[in-house]
Each structure stands twice: as structure tokens, then as C-alpha cells.
């Protein structure tokens, strides 16, 4: 399942909803991304996430399908927020459920790595000097490239 939304979410509730009634699930892995207040030594007062409605949903769905092709998952969820957020707020949540922990851990990491390099989101940080678009990091490309199938 994927969700792109402006509003906040409750991690506990989401895990509960995803696992409810499915007793084949033996392990749940999750990643929660938060807005930081410091980046490149500069203080950030807020962050705005812009995205490409339509393509965002399409890419997230493709990434989730790919994770389900590679691992035996019983359930998965990606939530990504857009709009303006304060430091400390939740931006992104990935949950993966499987019979055993290995598939859950690995697919959760895969989903985050792929999402960071493929989903069309852009961060604008508000600093004392005004708005700054965040640069993409090579380390994110490196992280995603290790999942390439040979």
C-alpha cells in the first residue's frame, strides 16, 4: 500500500492496521524519517516538500511492487508526506511485514534506498538566509546501486 498525504500519521496505528488478522506475519520492520533542525551546519526553521502528483504515486507503487517481487512479504506500506513541516515532524514511513525478520529488514532498507533516488520529491529548507533547495547526495545513489541485480 502507498499513501502520499499532507497530514501526519500514527506509526503504532499503521502497524496495527497492517498486521491485524494476519497471523502468518512473524516480523515487522519499519523506518521513520523525521525533519532535522540542522543541515550543513545551518539551522533550519522549517522544511517544505514539493512533489509531482501522479508520478509520485506511480513511482512508489513501482518500488513497492519490486520489493514484493524480491522478497516474500505479507504486507507493506509506504507513507510519504508533502507540504510544510517543522523540525521533529514525521516525513516518511516504510513498514514491511514478513514471516521472518530477514525479508522484513532487507526489504525495508531497499524501499527507503530506492524511494530516496526515484520518488519525485524535493526538499526546500528554510534558513535564516531564506529558502534553499536541498542538493541530492551521491551517497544516496551509492546506497541504491548496491541493490542492482546482476
Amino acid at each position: 500500500m502507498i499513501r502520499v498525504q499532507e497530514s501526519d500519521f500514527d506509526v503504532g496505528q499503521e502497524i496495527k492496521k497492517l498486521t491485524q488478522g494476519n497471523h502468518a506475519i512473524g516480523g515487522v520492520a519499519s523506518f521513520l524519517g523525521l525533519v532535522r533542525d540542522i543541515a550543513s551546519d545551518e539551522e533550519i526553521s522549517a522544511m517544505t516538500l514539493e512533489h509531482y502528483p501522479g508520478m509520485t504515486e506511480k513511482m512508489l507503487a513501482e518500488i513497492e511492487t519490486e520489493a514484493n517481487r524480491r522478497w516474500d512479504l505479507d504486507a507493506s506500506l509506504i507513507i510519504h508526506r508533502y507540504g510544510r513541516m517543522d523540525p521533529g515532524e514525521q516525513i516518511v514511513l516504510v513498514i514491511t511485514c514478513s514471516k521472518h525478520r530477514k525479508a522484513a529488514f532487507e526489504s525495508c532498507e531497499f524501499l527507503m534506498d530506492y524511494l530516496k533516488t526515484k520518488a519525485p520529491f524535493w526538499k526546500l529548507e528554510e534558513t535564516s538566509e531564506g529558502g534553499k533547495w536541498v542538493d541530492a547526495r551521491d551517497s544516496d545513489d551509492t546506497a541504491a546501486s548496491r541493490w542492482l541485480e546482476t
Partner: protein, 83 residues
């Protein structure tokens, strides 16, 4: 065809989307990127930041040699920074 701009491309060009009519000789993504700067001064960013640009056709990532068609939804944007 419709073209969308995001992040600093949107703020530099000054609009989120527009309808464009490239000449018939423009058949590929590469040719479109060559032609767009002719639309005005604000579009020179496309030339300056060309190596950074990502292109999508109908909401799928596209390569430079990919063909463009009338009615396509084209999008130009910087490398993504979500998550």
C-alpha cells in the same frame, strides 16, 4: 504538449507548467532540451544545469534519446531529495 517544472527549475523559469509547441524537427528528449533555452532568458538554466536534469515522459523516467510525441506530458526536474 504539456511541460512541467519542479523545485528550482520551477522557481527560475517562474511557472509550474505550460503548453509548448516545439518545431517538428524536435523529436527526442535531447532535441527538446536543446530547443527549450530559445524560449527566453529564464530558460538558460536548462542549458547551465543540463547534467543535473532529470526528465520524465508521461510520469516515467526517460533517456535523452527517447522519442517525444504530441500529447505527451513532459516533466523536467532536479535530482530528487525525498525520504
Amino acid at each position: 504538449m504539456k511541460i512541467l517544472y519542479f523545485a528550482w527549475l520551477r522557481t527560475t523559469i517562474g511557472k509550474p507548467l505550460e503548453e509548448i509547441t516545439p518545431p517538428e524537427t524536435v523529436k527526442t528528449v535531447k532535441e527538446l532540451l536543446d530547443w527549450l533555452p530559445s524560449l527566453g532568458e529564464d530558460y538558460s538554466i536548462i542549458q547551465e544545469k543540463r547534467d543535473l536534469l532529470r526528465i520524465a515522459i508521461n510520469q516515467e523516467y526517460a533517456d535523452l534519446d527517447q522519442k517525444i510525441e504530441q500529447g505527451d506530458e513532459i516533466a523536467l526536474f532536479p535530482p530528487v531529495t525525498g525520504g
